[in-house]
């Protein structure tokens, strides 16, 4: 009887090999998943995901840097000149084309809210400097304009505008 089974082309043993292998692979994946997933941001980190900030204390022409999700965020009260400059730039001059309107909220053009990390490798650019009346990242020489758009240097993208909205005329909610 045993000889009969051994001679057939696929036998029970083959099935058992494949089945064991498949169960083993699923089992290994099930074990690996939580071991990888524990690396993701934990609950205490995620809890800081949303903040409110009162912008009324910032006079025109000045900026503050606040913390959101452990990241620094620039809030700038732009001058009329800076807004003019930003609006005057033709889109064809931009590496990462975005209009000034896309980067601010309608009716609140004087407020520019951006994550303060250079989009190249994450340094914090210096305000009111660079060749475009905006920000300059001293690490690798990226120049941003008065709307925080990349104009020259190795950074590939404009400074990131985080998700935010005006809760009232002076209160913004980030996140």
């Amino acid at each position: 009887m045993a000889t009969q089974v051994e001679h057939s082309s696929t036998n029970r043993r083959d099935f058992l090999y494949v089945a064991t292998g498949a169960v083993g692979a699923v089992g290994a994946a099930a074990v690996v998943w939580p071991l990888i997933n524990q690396l993701n941001p934990d609950a205490s980190t995620l809890a800081l995901a949303s903040i409110e900030f009162d912008v009324s204390a910032i006079p025109e022409g000045q900026s503050v840097t606040i913390t959101w999700r452990g990241l620094p965020v620039f809030v700038r009260h732009r001058t009329a000149v800076e807004i003019e400059e930003a609006k005057a730039v033709p889109l064809s001059d931009l590496k990462d084309p975005e209009t000034d309107e896309q980067r601010t909220k309608e009716g609140y053009e004087q407020w520019l809210v951006m994550i303060a990390n250079c989009t190249h490798l994450g340094c914090i650019p210096v305000g009111e400097s660079g060749d475009f009346d905006g920000w300059f990242c001293p690490c690798h020489g990226s120049h941003y304009d008065s709307a925080g758009r990349i104009r020259r240097g190795p950074a590939p993208k404009n400074l990131v505008v985080p998700p935010y909205e005006f809760v009232s005329d002076t209160l913004i909610q980030i996140g």
Partner: protein, 416 residues
């Protein structure tokens, strides 16, 4: 090359052990009797020096971990505490920090030795590949170790380097969050880097074991690159090379000790004496000197190529500059192994060494003006050396005649 063991257990205990776990036989074959070319020069002693360096780092590191606290609020002060309050902590901390630099000095010399004498060529490709793996693991370990004191350079170095992950298309930002354990470098990052910084040296030690195993199958290369022909070409490893390596280690320890005792912080950046602050970037982010050449390559790419933006391009160039080493055995097809007999190769190799030092210098300079241009030129030559110079030289160069054997080259020199 591995000759049949001549070990005969000397007494009843050794005999008993040899039948169960032949470690004494292994030591006799690989650390004492192992036949080694008799013409190895001092560039060859850096292998042993590297084993010593790894040992020093593991011993001092295990001790430092007994006093260090991996928490963003306490890490900076715990390092100061080690230096000021722990008995002898000043010396142990300095040995570990300076030791990292000395490790890389030896590592670079060892790699350049291999590149010059063709130690990567058949039948030693696997040794070379394992060596490149050790190099990359060591850089990763050193990088994570540099984060632990939680100074300004630590923090911003971690930010800059972890941003490399965000260059990956589509999933980059998620991978970065996975690596950091948060939206930015923070406590989870410090904790996991500490854990990995403790783990990786043991993995390195294991790969070093494989590296030496792979070396002991074909045996050592040597300065003339001619394979061992008979037993007259070799001497036993002990006492000839054990003593020579020991002497070299003593010499190596002189500058090492000078740094530890007289200038323990000179190789680091002063900004790391400012506690990490996520709201202020140092004026310049300068990594440790041994990472500078690759850092220069990373930032030399400040232009887009087709759909690859400058950031991803820089990351690809930096990764490529290291992975390039993996395929050197197949880029250099010259039949002559040692650079000593290759008149043109010699000059290009010298240029490559100068270029590498240039890349190192440029990494510490601000990214503006002439430095940007020079960085691009040096980066280009780095790749040209591997992808163009090595394959082309292999075809067009006429090497000088080789000695017929190691013995002949050694004795010939003595007569001259």
């Amino acid at each position: 090359m591995s000759e049949h063991s001549t070990y005969t257990p000397g007494n009843a205990v050794e005999k008993w052990l040899d039948d169960r776990l032949p470690v004494v036989r292994f030591a006799k074959e690989h650390l004492m009797d192992f036949p080694t070319p008799k013409n190895l020069n001092y560039w060859w002693t850096f292998g042993a020096i590297l084993v010593m360096c790894l040992g020093v780092q593991i011993v001092t590191g295990v001790i430092l971990a007994m006093h260090y606290t991996p928490n963003v609020g306490m890490a900076f002060n715990s390092v100061e505490f080690i230096k000021r309050d722990v008995n002898g902590g000043r010396i142990i901390q300095a040995t570990h920090a300076v030791g990292a630099s000395m490790f890389f000095v030896a590592l670079y010399i060892h790699i350049f030795r291999g590149l010059f004498y063709g130690s990567y060529k058949a039948p030693r490709e696997i040794i070379w590949i394992l060596g490149v793996l050790i190099f990359v693991l060591t850089m990763a370990t050193a990088f994570m170790g540099y984060i632990l004191p939680w100074g300004q350079m630590s923090f911003w170095g971690a930010t800059v380097i972890s941003n490399i992950f965000s260059a990956i298309p589509l999933v980059g930002e998620n991978i970065k969050q996975l690596v950091l354990g948060g939206f930015a470098v923070g406590n989870p990052t410090l904790n996991r880097f500490f854990s990995l910084h403790y783990l990786l040296p043991f993995i390195i030690a294991a790969v070093v074991g494989l590296h030496i195993w792979a070396l002991h199958v074909p045996g050592n290369n040597n300065p003339i690159g001619v394979e061992v022909k008979d037993s007259r070409d070799t001497v036993p490893f002990h006492p000839y090379y054990t003593m020579k390596d020991l002497f070299a280690m003593v010499l190596f320890m002189i500058p090492f000790a000078w740094f530890v005792f007289f200038a323990p912080d000179i190789l680091g950046h002063p900004d790391n004496y400012i506690m990490a602050n996520s709201m202020v970037t140092p004026a310049e982010i300068v990594p440790e000197w041994y990472l500078l050449p690759f850092y220069t390559i990373l930032r030399a790419i400040d232009f887009n190529v087709l759909f690859i933006d400058s950031k991803l391009g820089g990351v690809i160039a930096m990764g490529g500059s290291m992975l390039m080493l993996l395929i050197v055995p197949w880029l250099d097809t010259s039949k002559v192994r040692s650079g000593s007999f290759r008149p043109m190769f010699k000059w290009f190799f010298a240029l490559f060494v100068i270029n590498f030092i240039g890349l190192m210098y440029l990494g510490a300079q601000p990214a503006e003006g002439i430095y940007v241009t020079l960085a691009k030129v040096c980066t280009a030559f780095y790749f040209i050396y591997f992808l163009v110079v090595l394959p082309v030289l292999s075809r067009i160069e006429t090497p000088r005649p080789l000695p017929t054997s190691i013995s002949e080259s050694v004795l010939g020199k003595a007569h001259a």
